[in-house]
């Protein structure tokens, strides 16, 4: 019975038709389809006047106990039914016949029942039809059960995949960004699909006394292969920065590692795009040195609201090209300035007009909304991604850095390096 528990809510037109057919075959006013629960009898379909529940219960239970076609020719003469109010009073049931709904293993789940208000016989042909109708009900229950099981299995698989994806994602991204004195940092990951692991990554970490390294990028592909590659890229970048934190050297190092990874292999070539940067405190701001390999431009939102790319021209894909070129540029983040790094899920998103958002669209949006802190940048990007909705077709990772505005009044303090 337990494996049919999912069918406790079974009802519907199919059962109504079975009840109607049973009544027609017997030329009787009432017919029902009943399912026996652990200690209840449930009417899943009824034709004619709904019979008194007590009668249905006692007769259906008796039919199930009887284990085969069950016929009461005159309920008034049958001690199991004679006392029932539906026999004694309205509607005055006298005749009852039922056939069991039986599983392939022989377990009785319920019955198809016919009732009449006069005593009568049940013909062999009529009882054979009633058995067939009970068989039909069983077939219908099996179909519903199979569908239910498929949905259950699907739901379990899906939940498992989502758990795995979320676990993987956590290992690929830093649990929390470190606190950098004089800097605000915030990061977010916007997955398009809950159960597919993307290949976006970022990190912010200490290099030496007062310098900090940061990176953000995107590996090719999706799923488990991309997750493994993301892991390799992330640890290679961290390790490479320990030996030589020069951003250009770090990307060249990553390129060499990825090239070795697929040397002679048949597997798809693993490659990525990335921005790697070094932050060094400089007066009331930070000096930033950025190298890029095939990645969309980082955007600076200046204290005065201007938005400009910090982007060395010509950096190429990492891990796939012969003699790739990685470009490097230096800039400053002054008090009140913010820097946004993002993956192409954002800039390749489609706007409602169907065109690509692109760096220009993102720049215009940042200029219009004017976020001045790392947290505000993250909120702006979150709102933009939400507004783009289905126009976003790829994961987006975002890393935002900002230097808090100077608290001194401009006239009283020195500008730039002290």
């Amino acid at each position: 019975m337990r494996r049919y528990a999912a069918l406790e809510t079974a009802s519907g037109a199919a059962f109504d038709r079975v009840a109607a057919l049973a009544a027609r075959i017997f030329r009787a006013p009432f017919a029902t389809v009943t399912i026996v629960g652990d200690d209840t009898v449930r009417v899943v379909a009824a034709h004619g006047l709904p019979p008194r529940h007590g009668l249905v219960e006692s007769l259906c239970a008796a039919a199930v106990r009887h284990g085969g076609p069950y016929v009461v020719r005159d309920a008034l003469l049958d001690p199991r039914a004679a006392g029932d109010p539906a026999v004694r009073g309205e509607p005055g049931i006298r005749f009852y016949a039922s056939a069991l709904i039986t599983t392939p293993d022989g377990e009785a789940l319920g019955s198809v029942n016919v009732m009449d208000v006069r005593p009568r016989e049940a013909g062999d042909e009529e009882l054979a039809c009633l058995r067939d109708l009970a068989g039909l009900v069983m077939d219908e229950l099996e179909v519903r059960l199979a569908t239910h099981r498929t949905v259950e299995v699907e739901r379990e698989l899906r939940a498992g995949a989502e758990r795995l994806a979320r676990t993987l994602q956590r290992t690929l991204l830093p649990p929390a960004l470190p606190r950098v004195p004089g800097l605000c940092a915030a990061a977010a990951y916007h997955p398009v699909s809950a159960d597919e692991v993307g290949g976006d990554f970022y990190d912010l970490f200490p290099l030496d006394d007062d310098r900090w390294g940061f990176f953000l990028g995107d590996v090719c592909g999706k799923g488990a292969d991309a997750a493994a590659l993301t892991s390799l890229v992330r640890y290679t970048l961290r390790a490479a920065a320990v030996y030589d934190a020069d951003p250009h050297a770090v990307l060249a190092n990553l390129d060499a590692v990825l090239q070795q990874e697929h040397a002679g292999g048949e597997a798809p070539v693993p490659y990525c795009t990335a921005v790697f940067g070094v932050l060094e405190p400089d007066g009331d701001g930070f000096g930033v040195t950025l190298a890029t390999g095939g990645h969309p431009p980082a955007l600076a939102v200046r204290a005065n609201g201007a938005v400009e790319p910090i982007h060395p021209a010509g950096g190429q894909l990492i891990g796939i090209l012969r003699d790739p070129h990685f470009a490097q540029v230096s800039a400053r983040l002054n008090a009140g300035d913010a820097l946004l790094l993002y993956t192409d899920g954002l800039t390749e998103a489609r706007t409602p007009s169907g065109s690509m958002l692109d760096e220009d669209g993102l720049t215009a949006h940042l200029a219009a909304t004017g976020p001045t802190s790392a947290d505000a940048l993250l909120t702006t990007v979150h709102d933009l991604i939400t507004a783009l909705g289905k126009g976003v077709s790829d994961d987006t990772a975002v890393l935002a850095l900002s230097v808090p505005p100077a608290t001194r009044t401009p006239s009283s303090g020195s500008l730039g390096a002290a």
Partner: protein, 119 residues
């Protein structure tokens, strides 16, 4: 010409001048094997260059990019040129951000690419 998952690839027979490969539709990890197979049939040589007409290309993911880069390297090894023609501006922009414009030459049309080769 083959067609499924929205990608068609056809290698035009050439009497003189470069090979011409016409690629249209979505180039992704489902469809790249077809382009890879077509590219493997191209015999690169110093006088046998390849123009890929991408004017019908509607989408290109990371596996598509990897295939184009591999084809460029095979062509370069054989002393042949590989030219891309008719790239959608959005895809061209993505290729440019990836620095592929330093590697591959982009032309507005196959005719223009062929003209560039004959110079």
């Amino acid at each position: 010409m083959q067609h499924d998952n929205g990608l068609t690839v056809s290698l035009q027979p050439h009497t003189s001048g470069p090979h011409l490969l016409v690629v249209a539709g979505d180039l992704d990890h489902h469809t790249t094997p077809r382009l890879r197979a077509a590219l493997e049939e191209v015999k690169f040589a110093p006088d046998a260059d390849l123009v890929i007409d991408l004017s019908g290309l509607t989408f290109c993911d990371s596996t598509g990019i990897a295939i184009l880069v591999a084809a460029h390297q095979r062509a370069a090894d054989a002393g042949a040129a590989l030219l891309l023609a008719g790239l959608d501006p959005d895809i061209a922009r993505v290729f440019q951000i990836m620095g592929l414009d330093r590697l591959l030459s982009f032309y507005d049309s196959p005719e223009e690419a062929v003209r560039a080769l004959s110079k």
